[in-house]
């Protein structure tokens, strides 16, 4: 009996290593879970991208489950996912854009022109379809940092109480939507 256990040991060790490495084959190292999952959306107070007098905060988004989509006109992957997100909006999914301005850094003497950005955004959304209820302009990327955003595109699913339920790095397409988001959103609605 003892000998059998001893003989099985290498096989068991092999299987453990095999499962571990096999799982690693399908992992995506870029997919980093935000530390904010399960927490409330952090407090913020940021202007609307198209109307800077309009200020949004964490309170103005309560009451309905929605997606926060981090994007920018500089981001090629965002360009690819915009048509699909537009399709989702047509199906009744509420999507709020968090505009992630990459180029602007006052430390390097960058200047920022809101009208120019607004025009660029309008042109791009006219081409791809506009999935957004509205866009929040996070010029200094403060809310992005508080959310644990590392770049664009990234998408968060928020429930009606303002709790962060899901975080996805990379574009949203049919496959990702079905595998990750669709069922969870249905639960929340």
């Amino acid at each position: 009996m003892n000998k059998k256990v001893l003989l099985a040991l290498p096989l068991v060790l092999f299987l453990i290593t095999f499962v571990f490495l096999f799982k690693g084959l399908f992992g995506n190292p870029k997919e980093i879970e935000s530390g904010r999952i399960g927490q409330q959306i952090p407090a913020f107070s940021l202007p609307d991208l198209m109307d800077e007098k309009r200020i949004w905060n964490e309170q103005s988004l309560l009451g309905e489950a929605y997606l926060i989509n981090v994007w920018g006109t500089w981001c090629p992957t965002c360009l690819i996912e915009l048509p699909y997100l537009t399709k989702l909006r047509e199906q009744g999914v509420k999507i709020v854009g968090l505009y992630y301005e990459q180029g602007y850094d006052p430390d390097f003497g960058d200047t920022f022109s809101l009208p120019a950005l607004q025009q660029e955004v309008s042109q791009m959304l006219a081409r791809t379809g506009d999935p957004y209820q509205f866009n929040i302009l996070d010029l200094e990327r403060k809310l992005a940092l508080d959310l644990g955003v590392s770049g664009a595109p990234e998408t968060f699913l928020i429930d009606k109480h303002g709790k962060i339920v899901l975080h996805h790095t990379g574009d949203i397409n049919e496959r990702v939507w079905r595998a990750k988001f669709a069922a969870r959103l249905l639960e929340l609605q």
């Binding site: 935000s34 990459q102 430390d107």
Partner: protein, 152 residues
């Protein structure tokens, strides 16, 4: 000799990190803490680079945040916790000991211990297999030797 000195100086001067010179500190302590933290915090975008090394936008944002937090008088653990709160354990190069990471520490030790146990058990089994030398065996051996000598 002078040329040799010059070349040495030029070669070693590349180790100076020019990127950090733009930051202003109130004290040497702050500067030290900032350096330690930016070397220890990991860039979430350019993975396998720390935030001191990375040119990603998010790495610069994190550097600025570290600077701000250090200047506010936060200690090292507080800054690390602030980042982990947002970016998860991934952002720190020294992950904490959790039940899952404990496996990484214990497994190698377990391999060594199991190896020794196997060696020990096998040796003991081999010893038991060698039964003691009986009177009968002695007699048989003596007979064989006698037979051999006679035949010669």
């Amino acid at each position: 000799m002078k040329i040799f000195l010059f070349i040495t100086c030029v070669l070693f001067s590349t180790h100076v990190l020019a990127a950090e010179e733009q930051y202003q500190f109130n004290s040497a302590n702050e500067e030290q803490l900032f350096k330690e933290l930016t070397l220890e915090l990991r860039c979430p975008k350019c993975q396998n680079q720390n935030i001191a090394d990375s040119d990603a936008v998010v790495a610069k944002d994190l550097r600025d945040k570290v600077l701000e937090l250090v200047k506010e008088g936060n200690n090292k653990q507080q800054v690390v916790d602030y980042m982990i709160d947002r970016y998860g354990y991934f952002v720190h190069y020294k992950p904490p000991i959790t039940p899952l990471t404990l496996l990484l520490w214990i497994l190698p030790l377990l391999f060594v211990v199991v190896g020794f146990v196997v060696i020990f058990v096998r040796q003991k089994q081999q010893k038991n297999r060698q039964t003691s030398w009986s009177q009968q065996d002695e007699q048989k051996l003596n007979d064989l030797i006698a037979q051999y000598q006679e035949s010669k």
